[in-house]
Symmetry: C2
Amino acid sequence: MLYALLDRARAASQGLAEADRDGALIAMAESLLDQAAAILSANEKDVAAERERGTSAALLDRLKLDMDRLHAIAAAVRHVAGLADPVGRVLDGRRLGPDLEMRQVTVPFGVIAMVYESRPNVTVDAAALVVKAGSAAVLRGSASALASNRAIVRALRAGLVAAGVNTDAVQLVDSADREHVTSLLAARGKVDLVIPRGGESLIRHVVENARVPVIETGIGNCHVYVDSAADLDAAIKIVHNAKLQRPGVCNAAETLLVHADVAGEFLPLVEPGLRSAGVELRACERASRMLSGSVAASERDWQTEFLDLTLAVRVVDSADEAIAHIGRYGSQHSEAIVTRDAATARRFQQRVDAAVVYVNASTRFTDGFEFGLGAEIGISTQKLHARGPMGLAAMVTSKYLVEGEGTIRS
Amino acid sequence: MLYALLDRARAASQGLAEADRDGALIAMAESLLDQAAAILSANEKDVAAERERGTSAALLDRLKLDMDRLHAIAAAVRHVAGLADPVGRVLDGRRLGPDLEMRQVTVPFGVIAMVYESRPNVTVDAAALVVKAGSAAVLRGSASALASNRAIVRALRAGLVAAGVNTDAVQLVDSADREHVTSLLAARGKVDLVIPRGGESLIRHVVENARVPVIETGIGNCHVYVDSAADLDAAIKIVHNAKLQRPGVCNAAETLLVHADVAGEFLPLVEPGLRSAGVELRACERASRMLSGSVAASERDWQTEFLDLTLAVRVVDSADEAIAHIGRYGSQHSEAIVTRDAATARRFQQRVDAAVVYVNASTRFTDGFEFGLGAEIGISTQKLHARGPMGLAAMVTSKYLVEGEGTIRS
């Protein structure tokens, strides 16, 4: 069943680069609103079933759709339609000889699969970005949103019909069975790229089972290092922002590292704002003596992406010790230093191996929209193909076109 | 043992971007010539052992080194030293706000492993390109070249010592045991990239066992399609060049597709040059009737990268049938059309899914040097990160550097 679906996706991807993809996106956005009643009713069933299973209020809120959210989702699709086409951009080109010319141009991948969790808006975002990038989208959301996703994909496909585009360009893997994810990951030659979006266990499952190309996204065990030469006022603002502005996301800070020379002054200054927001501090022994309220940090705390109101705190004796800590525990996502010393800032930028390295700014800026990419399909924590926030440019590949006049190699 | 080697490689990679890498390459080239006697004597042992095992003359020739070849290998290292630095190039950048600036810059991967077969010059090429790209090189050549590779790596490391660079930046996996390849492929977090170079079985082993990022290289089942609107003189030149100029390499043609409208005229014209060069033709039924000497092609022949004086020949009824044949049997490497019709050429370029698509030129141009990349580590047949000939630009990743003034997200 899955392979037949993938073969239909492949067929639909042929010629999609030359179709009116922006027109299709606008029709998809309209169709979402036309079919709002069916989508919201399906979503109510998903929400009711999850409520019965005792799912937390926070997760129920992520799952829930209403008319306002649906309008925002449709507006996001129209926004994608307005972005520059990522297909057909000339990346490089030169004359290879008097009668031979070469151009490297961006082309679609072909079939892109997204494997993701809970939020039904990801179904729409992913479909819109994949189609904009000229590929067919194969979508595999979570079991908890299956009814919502069915109704959404039905609406998206009706939009494709209205625009005269092959509906198999957007398809749902309509099953809660994890076996289908494993089959998808093994489908060499049938899937050109898999992008997982979700928690640590989903990402690990995908990376360990993939025989097809994957872009890993998202785990963020991010650090803010406050150097001995830091402007402490700036450091307080940055630590509070990186921890508190939205604690549940991957670019929030999880560990605060402070240079011993300023820890005695800085920690009592930064603590009240964190504590009053409800943050639990898990501190190394030295840090705990400078804080008025903390629990002892364990080895496990340095490794953890809390995604919550918890912050690990450690005093270090040098910038190099901070760099070594980040090298050992970080997830190569977003890392920040607060310092007025140019040489230390430069060394931190060079030596910290992460997608984004900040000097005197909050880790919270790691985001496709903040970075001016116009859209975001995820944040890559791998080094191959795309690193950091991924926009449409990361969702195409390239091809060399070479033209001669009966030209041969001598 | 392997993990300890990888940890040493990681340590050596720290700061390599800021070291005098070009100076190190020049010292490596000198050291290869200084230690020529030891290298040639080790190579003689490898060659003698292989001769005893009954290895073919062609493979023995690939394994064999002499003073001329060693001079050419050292010259290639000096050439790499002279190329532009791939590290530190600014790929993108903009102001994200009044007090926030972002740059995306190229940075080394960290630890790059090469897994390859027979030819000992690959040991030197790979080490030079990886070090130039600022990463530590972990090299795993074939058992048949182990003595040669030991002597070569000893010389390369002596060059690193002379240049004051940590010798662990170039290391040999000194074992003929395939288990070590499998361990290397599973070493998540310890190896940033594996590049296999070799035959189909090696590539398949790597792709199927890899848990670390891989760039697939090299299988080339390449086609030349002679369209009904072809200039037949040009087509003869191109087919002869693509098949005969160097039959044993991945960008040589393996199948000739001919439009039915011109097959009766073209096949008798192209056949004599192929036959006189010793090419065996494996033809579909229609083609066989137009050729004076051929054997019947089997399904297997359409799938095969012969790497030899064998050419499959098929008559097709349209350009779309040729495109469909290539879609089914091709390996997405290099594909060529010969035609004077602009619309047909354009459709072929759009619809054929391959790293390089030629119009009126030989497939033999798919090569990093021919493409002006200055060097070549391999030819990628995957779509992620690099496609087609890979030069130094494919051997680095990137990092976003963001600088603020105590800047936070609101």
